[in-house]
């Protein structure tokens, strides 16, 4: 009898605990949603301010050139090496499957279409999200911690225009250039891959590769890289500029810039593919 009462009271206490925890759990979920929507609203305001400041003179051409050099030129080697390996591996991996169907001669065309339409832009954007996004996020957060942004503001310079607009414009302008570079190097990688187990002339390979490519492959893929660049720049700058947790915030800004920018690349990609298929197919 006693043991039954003890078990029952234990069960009642457990139920009471669970009931007690329920409101705090709901509160936590509410807070998570609230933080999410506040962030979305703040990011929208940040994006709106970017477009407003971008149009309004004076323009920071020198800083834009400097940032384009740092973001574009300094990423060439990484993008180039990755592109070459990507083209090479893609060719080596695809060859056996095509050979089974006796369609080896389609290899250059298949590789060029996949690189130009999808793999080239996405891989370049992911590399930039990692290299450039983390760099911008950490740099801006560190500038915030060491009061450099405040110092710009008190010297009468608009830090948003000088720091944010130039960096976002640079990523937006440089990503299409890097993607074209990546595509070209990937084709060379693919040409090398084809010649590992065969003997195809440079002229024949590129004639076949370009035969299947049209402007409807190239133009939409270049246009979407503009949006990839814009998303990477905006997210990295937003995370860095709004960092406020001291030195801990620097690492956090760099990390969340990369994660969110990479995720946004895929979201923009799926939207771009849907829009393209509406007009082209």
């Amino acid at each position: 009898m006693n043991s039954t009462v003890t078990q029952l009271s234990a069960k009642i206490n457990k139920a009471k605990d669970a009931l007690g925890k329920l409101p705090s759990k709901m509160e936590n979920q509410y807070n998570v949603f609230q933080i999410f929507f506040v962030n979305v609203a703040n990011f929208s305001i940040f994006t709106g301010r970017f477009f407003k400041e971008m149009i309004k003179p004076p323009y920071e051409f020198n800083e834009l050139m400097k940032q384009s050099y740092l973001i574009g030129y300094k990423s060439l080697s990484l993008v180039g090496i990755t592109g070459f390996i990507m083209g090479l591996v893609l060719t080596i991996q695809s060859r056996p499957t095509l050979a089974e169907f006796g369609a080896e001669s389609w290899l250059p065309a298949m590789i060029s279409v996949s690189i130009v339409r999808e793999i080239g832009p996405v891989i370049t954007a992911l590399i930039c999200a990692g290299k450039v996004g983390s760099g911008i996020g950490a740099e801006l957060a560190s500038m915030k911690v060491t009061e450099q942004i405040d110092a710009m503001e008190v010297s009468g310079t608009n830090p948003f225009k000088y720091v944010i607009v130039t960096r976002v414009l640079s990523t937006t302008l440089m990503l299409p250039v890097l993607t074209v570079f990546n595509d070209v190097i990937s084709m060379f990688g693919s040409f090398a891959g084809v010649n590992i187990k065969g003997d195809v002339s440079f002229h024949l390979y590129f004639a076949q590769a370009f035969a299947q490519l049209s402007f409807t492959d190239v133009i939409p893929s270049i246009i979407k890289t503009i949006f990839f660049g814009l998303a990477i720049g905006l997210i990295a700058c937003y995370k860095g500029y709004n960092s406020n947790k001291g030195t801990e915030g620097v690492g956090e800004a760099a990390n969340s810039s990369v994660v969110l920018a990479s995720l946004m690349v895929f979201i923009v990609d799926i939207v771009a593919v849907q829009i393209t298929s509406l007009f082209i197919n």
């Binding site: 004076p58 740099e139 560190s142 500038m143 060491t146 009061e147 450099q148 405040d150 110092a151 710009m152 503001e153 008190v154 010297s155 009468g156 310079t157 608009n158």
Partner: protein, 255 residues
């Protein structure tokens, strides 16, 4: 020969009010940092602000340059109400108010030369050669001529502070705001910085607000001092007056 002090320098200046802060209030969440601050600063005067960490000293000077918006109150600097200015007007006033940050806030990605050229970049009426001359002169004033092509990371703490001061002074401001100018420095370098602040007051006839915990710095630089406690001005007077205060808490700053 009479020793140079802030008081001697001020005695020769006129008593025009250049900064007037009235009923300033600022709250962060539930924390009421500034409750009702009223301050007047005369032309050429150095005002030292004392107070415990978190008492709102830095908030006070950040409000004055528009880095933080106050909840209530009026701040008049150089005859303009700071909180009512549009951003373009605020930026032109900011060029007349120098702000030395605690860390120096030097731009890490720029050389010393570029750091000093930065505040001059919008001044179209000055030629490039003149700007370089101004940079060299500013560096000479703080004794850092040899560092012109160095990066900020190559400089010591004291040198970074002096460079921050040179960058601020390059626009020849009428008001200077110093946020803990000697924090983290050894006593010798602290004294050098304090004397530099005094030199700035003498040379450019600037009015200054100096936030500090360093009583040696306060003794050298202060014409007048105020003590902030729980968001209000708890005491006001000269260094000597506050040092002899009957309030034990105020005297504890001097021990």
């Amino acid at each position: 020969m009479m020793e140079q002090t802030a008081k001697n320098i001020l005695d020769s200046k006129q008593n025009d009010v250049i900064v007037e802060i009235s009923h300033l209030k600022k709250t962060f969440g539930s924390n009421e940092v500034l409750k009702d601050i009223n301050i007047k600063i005369n032309k050429g005067e150095n005002l030292v602000v004392l107070g415990k960490s978190g008492s709102g000293k830095s908030v006070l000077i950040k409000c004055l340059v528009g880095l933080i918006n106050p909840d209530e109150g009026k701040m008049i600097a150089l005859e303009k109400n700071i909180s009512e200015l549009k951003i373009d007007e605020l930026n032109s006033i900011r060029k007349k108010i120098g702000f030395l940050f605690q860390s120096g806030a030097l731009y890490d990605s720029m050389t010393v030369r570029e750091n000093l050229l930065f505040p001059l970049r919008d001044l179209k009426e000055i030629s490039k050669e003149e700007k370089i001359k101004l940079v060299e002169e500013a560096l000479k004033n703080v004794g850092l001529e040899d560092t012109i092509d160095k990066m900020p990371s190559e400089l010591s703490g004291g040198m970074r502070k002096r460079l921050g001061l040179a960058r601020t002074l390059i626009l020849k401001p009428e008001i200077m705001l110093y946020d803990e100018p000697t924090t983290g420095l050894d006593p010798i370098t602290s004294k050098e910085i304090s004397e530099l602040i005094l030199e700035v007051q003498k040379k450019y006839n600037t009015s200054s607000i100096i936030i500090t915990h360093d009583m040696a710095c306060a003794k050298i630089t202060a014409n007048r001092m105020i003590v902030l406690k729980e968001g209000v001005i708890d005491a006001e007077g000269t260094f000597d007056e506050l040092e002899k205060s009957e309030d034990k808490w105020i005297r504890s700053f001097f021990e």
